[in-house]
Amino acid sequence: MHAGRNSDMISSAVNRRMLMKWLAAAPVYGAAAQQARLYDILIKGGEVHDPARDFRQKADIAIRQGIIAAIEPDIAADQALDVIDAAGRLVTPGLVDLHTHIHYGVRSGIEADPVAARTGTTTWLDAGTFAYTEVRGFRRFIVEPAKCRIFGLVHLYPSNRNPDSDPVKDVRGAMDRTGRAAQENSDIVLGVKIQIGSNMNGRYSLDFLKIARELCDRYKLRLMAHISFAPPSTDEVMALMRPGDIITHCYNTHTIGILDEQGKVKPSVRDARSRGVLFDVGHGSGSFNFEIARKALNDGFAPDSISTDIYSDNIRGPVYDLPTTLSKLMHSGMSFDDVLKCATVNPGKVITPLLGAGTLRVGGPADVALLSVEKGQFLLVDAQRNRVTAQQRIVSHLTICRGKRLLARV
């Protein structure tokens, strides 16, 4: 493993790359010599998992110029400048976290890059940390400088300081501006986020949701709805969700939830799923419960995507990061293959501007995670502070994004 390789070595590798290119261009080198150093990075000897095409076997992955150049049983080590020994590792698509708060500097946002480097998470969707007034800051301060890939959902909210203003009027007033901001920034803004629950909006959640519905229909945007406390009821929320929309916090233990009192998945939820509504975990400080997850899984209701809802108040627990969240879902009964699918290809389909997000295919983006499943005794905690001891956990060893190693800040 070369995970500890420092930046000096990286820069010398870059110089070496320039030199090789120059040499390759020199006429004294024949065609064979040009083959000599074909790749920037070669990941050798790992077990490659690509849930997008049920690919699971030992293979080498070669990366050139930010793109996966080859996935073959054996690629000669001398063809790459940076050869990573992945023996005993699972080589997977870079993880995609569909619910995060990474608008650092606004509310509880964290900075994505350092966490990306240590968790295999190459693509992050900020779920509404910012409103339409803050999209330009999101682009300039967050998306553009990041080494990982960042997208966002714009929050629809009554952003008015005046407590005596009519909140429904405020949200309606923000509707078109939010839609236009999303449209004008469609390369990074993938839809609208709304928080549904009496704890978030008092009496107004259903009114806000109806406005969000109108907004998303008018501007053809995806809607992500947080669910927490009734009113409104689960049925009322589900009735307003369309194919491609996302319900997040699906395994919460609150009064807007997917299970009825008998612990069975509600018909309106099943109906929404059959229509194509997606269900996302969104762990967060309060929204993942082991018992709910287990009951839902027992009732055949696995999530479509597993996400952290990571922010400054939960990064030191109970959330920590995406591999930890994935481990919790494995403990609740999902297989590694299932959780991997929920953290790569499934959420990757939501990241429409990045073709091939969450997959490992030749010609696709070179976003790769080196993971392993460790055996042992591991304490895991849910949002209600229920503790369980897991026999296995997922650990990230290296993150490659856009064909470059992401390095933890020194």
Binding site: G105, V106, T133
Partner: protein
């Protein structure tokens, strides 16, 4: 830098008279020659040359030889003043209505900008990292009392009360850039709650020993109620507004509570903005000798293309209503710099002070000026910025 080194090399050649073993005097980074230097902090006014070295003012003398400067600025016919200090701006350009300061700084002589509450306590880290640190201009801020993402059904007073200590702690922890707390007082801003919020702000500022900047607009509360809660060093902004929460009464007289507040040491700031500067109100106040302590723009996206434009335009309006240039300059340099109180010598042109300098021209002609109520006035004299130097560098 290359140019500087090159010129230094040339300098050695030109100063051939210096024996090689002698220590040559260092050349000034910038030398501003022949301007009319005005430094209201010490009542200085006269033709002089100003030399800048290593980000500081190195000399202010009658005549400094041009050969002693690397970058010699010809300032004949221009005022050479301390860099302008704008106490009320909105320059957190990742949020709401904020503009980016640097580009406006470069064309307006404004070297120091105070963001008046575009951001709340949970946005201070972003303000530091994305706004203050990358800026070439000097940036400070007043933190807004509360963020705007509350549950609309929450008890508003409870919510703002809940923000009190967080806001105070954040301000104290970032004392180098956070000057105090901003609150908008007016029924148009907080409905029925302005007075309650002001009381919470009062407790906050007392507990954490922070200055309070209070925007005033529409009553209730009344001017008297607001003035009563202001302490020495606090700032009332929008003092020349034409609204119901203002400094003049129905007969155009300055209210007793306002005079009393000033006597106690409360500061009054212009804060022009989209709706808060009125020629008539300003003239009435000036007629009674009530000059604002500080002149500021309250510039943001919705007024930068008029009626505010920039600091020199706002200053020109104050001259139009009756202030002298010296009065105006003092209120745009040393007075706000004293309120900021973070950098020794800011707002002055003293030797050793930070080299924040504006080159202003008093343009003569016929110029139209507009207040917030779109009243138009014609003036014969308008201030225009010709060069901005901040931290010893041209912007």
């Amino acid at each position: 830098m290359e140019r500087r080194h090159f010129l230094k090399t040339i300098g050695i050649g030109a100063a051939g008279a210096w024996p090689t073993w002698a220590q040559r005097p260092r050349l000034f980074d910038i030398l501003i020659k022949g301007g009319e230097v005005i430094d209201p902090s010490r009542g200085f006014r006269g033709i002089a040359d100003v030399a800048v070295l290593d980000g500081k003012i190195a000399a202010v003398e009658n005549s400094i030889a041009a050969e002693r400067g690397i970058d010699v600025v010809e300032a004949k016919g221009l005022y050479v003043t301390p860099g302008l200090v704008d106490l009320h701006t909105h320059i957190h350009h990742g949020l709401e209505i904020g503009i980016e300061a640097d580009s406006v700084a470069a064309r307006s002589g404004t070297t120091t900008w105070v963001d008046a509450g575009t951001f709340a306590q949970n946005e201070v880290p972003g303000f530091r990292r994305f706004i203050v640190e990358p800026a070439r201009a000097r940036i400070y801020g007043f933190v807004y009392l509360y963020p705007n993402n509350r549950n609309p059904d929450d008890d508003a007073i409870k919510y703002v009360n809940g923000m009190m200590d967080r806001t105070g702690r954040m301000a104290v922890a970032n004392r180098d850039i956070i000057l105090g707390v901003k609150l908008q007082v007016g029924s148009n801003m907080n409905g029925r709650y302005s007075l309650e919020f002001l009381r919470i702000a009062r407790r906050l500022c007392d507990k954490y020993e922070l200055p309070l900047m209070a925007h005033i607009s529409l009553a209730p509360p009344s001017t008297d109620e607001v003035m009563e809660l202001m302490r020495p060093g606090d700032v009332i902004t929008h003092c020349y507004n034409a609204h119901t929460l203002g400094i003049v009464d129905d007969k155009g007289k300055i209210k007793a509570s306002v005079l009393d507040a000033r006597a106690r040491g409360v500061m009054f700031d212009v804060g022009h903005g989209l709706g808060s500067f009125n020629f008539d109100v300003a003239r009435k106040a000036l007629d009674q000798g009530f000059l604002a302590d500080t002149i500021s723009s309250d510039i943001y996206t919705l007024n930068i293309d008029g009626p505010v434009y920039d600091m020199p335009t706002t200053m020109s309006k104050m001259m139009l209503v009756g202030m002298t240039f010296d009065d105006v300059l003092k209120r745009s340099t040393i007075n706000p710099a004293r309120i900021i109180h973070r950098v020794d010598g800011m707002g002055t042109l003293a030797v050793g002070a930070p080299a924040d300098i504006a080159l202003l021209e008093s343009a003569k002609g016929q110029f139209q000026l507009v207040d917030s109520q779109r009243n138009r006035r014609t003036t014969k004299e308008k201030l225009v910025s010709r060069l901005t130097i901040c931290r010893g560098k041209r912007l």
